[in-house]
């Protein structure tokens, strides 16, 4: 079995190499036979990878523990589902799964575009097959999933990490991979366009759908990751700026930028260099993401462990790809020159320019901040921590700017919006924003970021509503139907535009959820059975702490009755700690969540004392958090509409519900999978003290990073591990001794021998670089974009057609053609 798999990988490598050679030679000699043969080889790679996948899944299911990979990631008692998902549970298999997906995607993309983009196809095949070759090479040389034990083979496996035996963990990686792998296709087409020199926008049309599709899966993967973190990690939040989360976010930023700037090139023929570069950067960032996860360069809960050799291969691949692809961009610069004419600042083009810059800056900033600790350590040996507070400090304003642009962009016209008309366009959105802002102020909301976010959300919603209603009115005027039909017709006629608006609605809803975080409260309680405490309108009554055993694990469950303000019982909640057999030293924390659209009541029981019957209960109240998941559902719906084929106008209405239902069902099934979710979080075996932390100590502990390794360097004040509980208690003691905040922080810096214990890099020494970078790059980039825009707008517009009086015959013909366009 193992050697069969190994031969298959070798054979695949050879065939992929042949595909590259045959396609390139065929394209150069204009030989259809060679090209056809190359395409055949390309399909063969997909078929071979399918067989290889079948072989490894069979090895997992049949329990062939002589294969190391199988032995390390599964055991005989594992359920069948997790045996199959173990395929991508480890490093070697995930690389193989990557190639498998890429070969399938590539084949479909080649098949679909074979006729329409005949001249690009051979190079597309060559590029994708080259990427496949790199990963196959990795497997053959370094990470062979079929490697066997040389001497005696074990009789049973070690089993998949219990943390990964979870529904989300089974589907989150493949969706991320789908997104990552899918982004290779636009890259391949972009490169093919560069090779052939056919740099008009035909290649864009070939890849637009693929980008949107991959973008969707990337968004889905990120959302699933957030859900998992929320339900599993037990610290009450969903995004911790972990290096690997960031790695998934990077291509998402640039892909989003590309989806927007594509429109500028399609409509205006501008930004050609930019679009090709964006596609290349996006691809590189997917490789960076893979690299970060697999090389151990950054410390992360996701990382597969350190592997310097693998890191070297990746660096070599990334450097050569960068040099090669940008070399081609430079070589083709003369062809990429386009008419640059910016009619006005108040135009969609200018808004897209701003949007692109902000998104690219986000990607750069996140990449920089993720790698910053590694860079400083490499340069002067100083290990710093860039924790969630630092990311939030910069990304919150950036997010708000993006939200603002989401609202502004649709209001502007292409080319030029007349200033007097601007007032008319902005009136209602601005009014709705002001109303919301006023209400916020009146209600006494003092969290500036959240308040601003609500106001901007109202602005965007105002924009979208106005666009829909006015558009429908115009259409009604043209077609003479009622407003509802007109609206459906509007969406059907321009699916990309209005699908995009619906995506924007989803984004707004997600932002509402993010803004809710500004109002989240958490409190630590120490309860004995029979005692109760009140937290934010909920009264929690601890009925009992019970110990049960189901043969597989021992479960310590807190039975909590939740009452509302009037004293009526609204929910029985069961936070718990589970001690799995063979994993007693790693108890898992079971989170209990009571979900509603207004807020979540989120209860964790990090510690208990059976003899004294005391439980430490962490209560988080997270307002609006469910809007994040719900917003994603809307986003999925919008993407579905935008992805509908151009010709599907007639059955747009018929097909729309199907798409909507699938997307919403998925989200709903995730949402409604029990009002009270069960979740796991493996913790270190330390015994946390059952002690309440004072609010002051919590405040200070927010500035320290947790190094337990089980979380993504969350602030000590947030992490629910035992280590952090102890540290919080220590800080409490120090406060009582009369130490100031600065003294306590200094104490930690000296104890840990460096600034890495602080969750933000200090604004001095090498840490200052981290603080300067966003300002320098952000400001510099903004100036550059402004300069370019200024230069383009100054250039006299090149109409290229001699001015003259339109002859009536031609005018009539033009009008006729315009009518037929609908």
């Amino acid at each position: 079995m193992a050697s069969l798999g190994e031969y298959l990988l070798l054979l695949t490598f050879v065939i992929a190499a042949y595909a590259v050679a045959a396609s390139v030679a065929g394209a150069r000699r204009r030989s259809t036979r060679l090209i056809e043969s190359g395409i055949g080889a390309f399909y063969t790679v997909a078929a071979l990878m399918t067989v290889a996948s079948g072989v490894i899944i069979y090895a997992f299911v049949a329990g062939d523990y002589s294969i190391r990979y199988v032995q390390r990631y599964s055991d005989s008692v594992q359920p069948l589902f997790y045996k199959i998902t173990s395929y991508w549970g480890g490093l070697d298999g995930s690389v193989m799964f990557w190639v498998f997906l890429l070969s399938i995607f590539g084949s479909v993309a080649v098949r679909v575009n074979r006729q329409r983009h005949r001249e690009l196809i051979p190079y597309v095949v060559a590029v994708i097959a080259t990427v496949e070759m790199f990963f196959l090479f990795l497997m053959i040389i370094h990470n062979n999933p079929f490697a066997t034990y040389l001497t005696e083979s074990p009789t049973d496996g070690r089993g998949l990490n219990p943390l990964l035996q979870n529904f989300y963990m089974a589907i989150h990686p493949p969706t991320m991979y789908l997104g990552f792998v899918g982004l290779t296709i636009p890259f391949a087409f972009g490169m093919a366009a560069l090779f052939t020199g056919y740099l008009d926008d035909s290649w864009l049309r070939a890849v637009r759908r693929w980008t949107m599709f991959s973008w969707f899966f990337l968004s889905l993967g990120l959302t699933l990751g957030m859900l998992w973190a929320y339900e599993e990690l037990g610290w009450g939040g969903y995004w911790g700026w972990d290096p690997v989360e960031n790695a998934g976010m990077l291509p998402w930023f640039t892909a989003t930028a590309f989806l927007h700037s594509v429109m500028v090139q399609e409509r205006r023929g501008m930004l050609r260099v930019w679009n090709v570069s964006l596609v290349i950067i996006t691809f590189l960032l997917t490789i960076v993401g893979t690299f970060l996860t697999r090389s151990g360069v950054v410390q992360s809960i996701h990382a597969f462990g350190e592997d310097p050799e693998l890191a070297r291969y990746f660096v070599a691949f990334m450097v050569s790809t960068t040099v090669f692809s940008f070399g081609w961009v430079i070589y083709r610069l003369p062809l990429l020159k386009a008419r640059h004419e910016l009619d006005s600042w108040a135009s969609k083009e200018a808004a897209f320019l701003a949007n692109n810059w902000v998104l690219l800056f986000s990607a750069l900033f996140v990449l920089f901040a993720t790698l910053f600790p590694t860079i400083t350590e490499a340069i002067n040996g100083e290990r710093l921590t860039v924790g969630p507070p630092f990311f939030n400090r910069w990304m919150v304003p950036i997010g708000l700017i993006l939200l603002l642009l989401t609202g502004v962009g649709p209001l502007l016209a292409w080319r030029k919006t007349t200033l007097t008309n601007l007032r008319d366009q902005f009136l209602w959105p601005v009014v709705s924003a002001l109303v919301v802002a006023g209400t916020m102020l009146a209600l006494g909301v003092r969290v500036w970021s959240s308040g601003l976010c609500f106001a901007l959300s109202a602005f965007v919603m105002g924009t979208i509503t106005q666009e829909m209603v006015r558009g429908a009115n115009v259409r009604r005027g043209m077609t003479g139907t009622d407003i509802l039909t007109a609206m459906i017709g509007l969406v059907g006629r321009n699916k990309r535009r209005y699908g995009g608006y619906i995506v924007h609605v989803g984004i707004v809803l997600m932002f509402l959820g993010f803004a809710g975080e500004g109002f989240s409260r958490d409190q630590q309680l120490l309860l004995k059975p029979g005692e109760e405490a009140t937290v934010g309108g909920y009264t929690l009554h601890l009925d009992a702490i019970r110990v049960t055993d189901d043969g597989q694990k021992q479960m310590v469950t807190g039975h909590v009755t939740v009452k509302d303000a009037s004293g009526a019982v609204i929910e029985q909640m069961r936070p718990a700690k589970w001690f799995f057999r063979k994993h007693e030293e790693e108890p898992t924390t079971e989170v209990a969540i009571r979900r509603s659209f207004a807020e979540d009541l989120y209860i964790v029981m990090p510690a208990f004392e059976i003899e004294e019957q005391t439980a430490s209960v962490e209560v988080h109240i997270n307002p609006l958090v469910n809007w994040v998941w719900f917003g994603f559902g809307i986003l999925a719906l919008g993407t579905g509409i935008a992805l509908l084929p151009e010709t599907a106008v007639t059955f747009a209405v018929a097909r729309l519900p199907a798409e909507a239902v699938t997307a919403s069902l998925l989200i709903l099934s995730l949402l409604l999978s029990g009002g009270v979710a069960r979740a796991q979080h493996v913790e270190t075996g330390q015994d946390p003290r059952l002690q309440l932390t004072s609010p002051e100590a919590r405040e200070i502990s927010q500035k320290l990073a947790c190094w337990c390794g089980g979380c993504s360097k969350l602030p000590v004040g947030q992490c629910s591990c035992g280590h952090c509980a102890i540290e919080r208690a220590k800080i409490d003691v120090m406060l009582k001794e009369g130490k100031t905040e600065q003294q306590i922080l200094d104490h930690y810096v000296t104890t840990y021998g460096g600034n890495q214990i602080l969750s933000e890099p200090p604004n001095s020494g090498s840490g200052r670089v981290a603080w300067l970078m966003p300002i320098v790059v952000g400001g510099g980039g903004f100036l550059m974009a402004a300069f370019l825009a200024l230069r383009w707008s100054r250039r006299p517009s090149l109409a290229g057609v001699p001015a003259g009086i339109e002859d009536p015959e031609m005018a009539a013909r033009l009008d006729e053609e315009l009518r037929n366009l609908d």
Binding site: S31, S37, D201, A413, K416, Q425
Partner: protein, 190 residues
């Protein structure tokens, strides 16, 4: 990959007579037979094992199909016709025209939604309309090189006094090569 799509792709190399089985049908059938064989051999194993084994065997048949597609073009007797990329200019012009028309349409829509003043609209729509008219004219004049080259060849041939191409007309109106004995369209003797 859709299998039906695979079918319409195959006949290129295969004989003009409809073969008994399309290649993909043959390979799929072979794969299924082999899978059946596997199931018989593997009796006694857990059902999940057997299912995965037989799926893998079917996948093997797709490898066969891939190899067939890889090799066929290399051995086919068909001439190695270079893939011509003619009419690209024309396509580009058409595309440009579609783009301008769509911009015009969008402009009208934006205007109708009150995003710009009459003056701005007139100015921009005038510019776009002129461009569109220019493109239509270019297309009418035969923007493609092919037509231009053919005209040029014809012109030069007639200038040099040689017999121009395709003079042997047929009653059906088809132009035939000068040395043709039968019409290539209707088959009538010339």
């Amino acid at each position: 990959m859709s299998r039906t799509a695979a079918a319409d792709d195959e006949p290129k190399g295969s004989s003009p007579h409809e073969p008994l089985l399309q290649p993909w049908q043959f390979f799929l059938l072979a794969g299924m037979l082999a899978a059946t064989g596997t199931v018989i051999v593997a009796t006694g194993q857990a059902p999940a094992n057997i299912i995965i084994l037989s799926l893998t065997v079917v996948a093997v048949s797709f490898v066969g199909l891939g190899a067939y597609r890889l090799l066929l073009p290399l051995v086919s007797a068909e001439a190695d016709a270079p893939s011509l990329i003619g009419g690209r200019t024309r396509i580009a012009l058409e595309r440009e025209k579609a783009l301008v028309l769509r911009s015009l349409k969008e402009l009208e829509f934006d205007f109708a939604m009150g995003k710009m003043s009459q003056a701005d609209f007139d100015e921009m729509s005038g510019r776009l309309r002129r461009r569109a008219v220019g493109l239509i004219r270019q297309l009418d004049a035969g923007g493609g090189y092919r037509e231009a080259i053919e005209r040029e060849v014809e012109r030069r041939l007639s200038e040099s006094g040689d017999q121009p191409l395709g003079l042997s007309g047929c009653e059906c109106g088809t132009k035939n090569d000068p040395d043709a004995k039968f019409c290539k369209n209707c088959g009538a003797r010339l």
